[in-house]
Amino acid sequence: GAGVSQSPRYKVAKRGQDVALRCDPISGHVSLFWYQQALGQGPEFLTYFQNEAQLDKSGLPSDRFFAERPEGSVSTLKIQRTQQEDSAVYLCASSLGWSSNQPQHFGDGTRLSIL
């Protein structure tokens, strides 16, 4: 079956522009996570959804970052007034449920470059 799909794969934006990154999780997966991965580092947690409810957004670095999952499936991560430090790979992952024993299924990420 289809895995987690993210779009676009690459995004270049000028500093100050707004961007929107999309994640299509595996059908039926309740949990959805967003991560930010800098070059040479592991993924860093941004936010977590269980169905349409955003249960944890403590990892979002500033109020310029906003995520939603209005119907409990597709999710969008929006970054307003982008800054150069926002340049990174943004990964989305989904899992059947929230539990530490549930494996996460990742998309291949969106590589965001802010000029």
Binding site: V4, F33, G42, P43, Y48, S58, G59, N101, H105, G107
Partner: protein
């Protein structure tokens, strides 16, 4: 704060040898620890999960150990192959601080033919 440390240096080994990667954590005792593989330009792929009451878990050529006293997990790849070359990440969920999965920085493994 939570901290996960993995081999900071890249690991180069000869084909056929056993690769051993370490994952050390502080400030929390996770009930489960997960290992992932990440290839360049791709998202991480789940490999194995081990529970705190399991000392060892095996899957084909992979073996994971979990020592809750040392706060350490070891990840072994036996009879390594060039196709095993990738970055390997350990991760756990910290329920005491919400729903955050913590990932290590990863260890880059290169298997030399």
């Amino acid at each position: 704060s939570q901290k996960i440390e993995q081999n900071s240096e890249a690991l180069n080994i000869q084909e056929g040898k056993t690769a051993t990667l370490t994952c050390n954590y502080t400030n929390y005792s996770p009930a489960y620890l997960q290992w992932y593989r990440q290839d360049p330009g791709r998202g991480p792929v789940f490999l194995l999960l081990i529970r705190e009451n399991e000392k060892e878990k095996r899957k084909e050529r992979l073996k994971v150990t979990f020592d809750t006293t040392l706060k350490q997990s070891l990840f072994h790849i036996t009879a390594s192959q060039p196709a095993d070359s990738a970055t390997y990440l350990c991760a756990f969920l910290s329920s005491d601080t919400g729903n955050q999965f913590y990932f290590g920085t990863g260890t880059s493994l290169t298997v030399i033919p």
